[in-house]
Symmetry: C2
Subunit: 259 residues, 2 copies
């Protein structure tokens, strides 16, 4: 099977012009089929504030109102996605093409069901069109996804970028041997959040349970880990959590997940 | 040669939720290869004002500053383009895919040369990648372009949507017999701007010169007409200026251009 690299970059990379440029240069230089998924960064919050769009929180969870959705669609699918595509095109080695899930019906989702909280226009992924994505890859294109999906009825959704990366990696595993990289500003999963070098280099399912029990893996890292293990359970060959410089320098200390 | 429809909708259609929905329904129902180009509408001016981004004018011409460019990229490539794509997907008969010129390197442009005025980040189209657009069409996709281009060096540009429509129609004429429709809120070119039924049904190059001399065609209609005649001179089979309802109801009175 041919190898495919699926890389996700977090909001802190997107927000940092220098880190983003450096990552994109490394990413473009990778000479194999590849897909990029990018988070949103803090710009959506800043622009929402300037536009007078309030960010509603319920029990500490962010609610995506119609006005919030418009802001994230603008920024994620517009400003951020298209500037990333233009920067990748500038390398002359990466024929990037920017997508939401609505484009070519690539990722469908359903509005997150209301239990205790109505999250608003947040979508949970239903399906990824691996045949169409494979067609783009086979035609020499590099898909660049923002974390916006649709419901096939005209509604766009804000969706978690980590989850999209995992779902795309899983779907593409029917065509490729997929390596999934979650790239961010740290070096990996840390035993001590105040020591940036305290990287846990390998985590399997068993170790994950004990790290969780010890409170070493907590908060926002938990759903990321769930996405990692879900990918491994569904035939993704490799999953790594690493610094953004890792994509092109695989000797850097980082975290590798295994079952 | 297979037929291809290239339709451009103006900002007044994009701004009018009902008119836009009606147009998209008609457009999706057209059972032949097709391409849509959309203008921006007034929302960019509204959002720029709210964000405190000033619109600079020199000699009555709008200048696209870095801040203005960010706003139009957000709104045209993000909010407007992706909502149009999602609405077309909702018809289940139109597999729409949204593009700027940067995506798959489809439309390259150069910053408008500075003579009397520096227009800022405004791009003049250099090339359209007809082979790649043909590939998407042959694979059953319907390209939806906003009026953003790039220079292959990482810079995005604001570009005139009428010109993009004309350039795309010309480029695609090497593969298809192309019909180009400029769709807007009026019925066509009018002899009397106050009489919405005073449609001039046919304009050839000679009549255009006399209408221009008489001041009947003036202002913003002049560059649109230049784009129309440029397309006809470069092998586009048909060019029409018509109401947005025309695409699916070709009996409506409208303006047809001929050489």
């Amino acid at each position: 099977m041919e190898k495919l690299l699926v890389a996700k970059i977090g909001g802190n990379i997107v927000d940092n012009e220098e880190a983003l440029a450096s990552f994109l240069k490394d990413f473009a230089a990778i000479d194999q089929p590849k897909i990029l998924i990018h988070g949103g960064g803090k710009i959506a919050t800043r622009v929402a504030e300037k536009l007078g769009v309030k960010t509603e929180m319920i029990n500490g969870r962010r609610i995506t109102s119609k006005e919030n959705l418009d802001v994230v669609v603008q920024l994620y699918a517009g400003l951020i996605n298209k500037n990333i595509v233009a920067q990748l095109q500038a390398t002359q080695t990466c024929n990037a093409i920017g997508f939401t899930g609505a484009d070519a019906n690539l990722i469908t989702a359903v509005k997150r069901p209301v239990k205790d909280i109505d999250y608003g226009f947040v979508g949970d992924v239903i399906s990824v069109n691996e045949d169409r994505i494979h067609q783009f890859l086979a035609n020499g294109l590099t898909p660049v996804f923002c974390a916006i999906t649709h419901d096939e009825n005209g509604q766009l959704f804000n969706t978690n970028a980590d989850t999209i990366a995992s779902k795309i990696a899983v779907a593409m595993s029917s065509y490729y041997e997929v390596s999934l990289y979650y790239c961010f500003e740290l070096k990996g999963v840390l035993t001590n959040i105040n020591d940036k070098d305290s990287v846990i280099e390998s985590i399997d399912s068993e170790k994950y349970i004990s790290l969780k029990a010890a409170g070493i893996i907590a908060d926002g890292m938990l759903p990321k880990m769930e996405n990692c293990f879900d990918a491994l359970h569904k035939n993704v060959a490799e999953v790594h959590i690493a610094n953004a410089d890792f994509v092109n320098n695989q000797k850097t200390k980082h975290t590798t997940l295994t079952l």
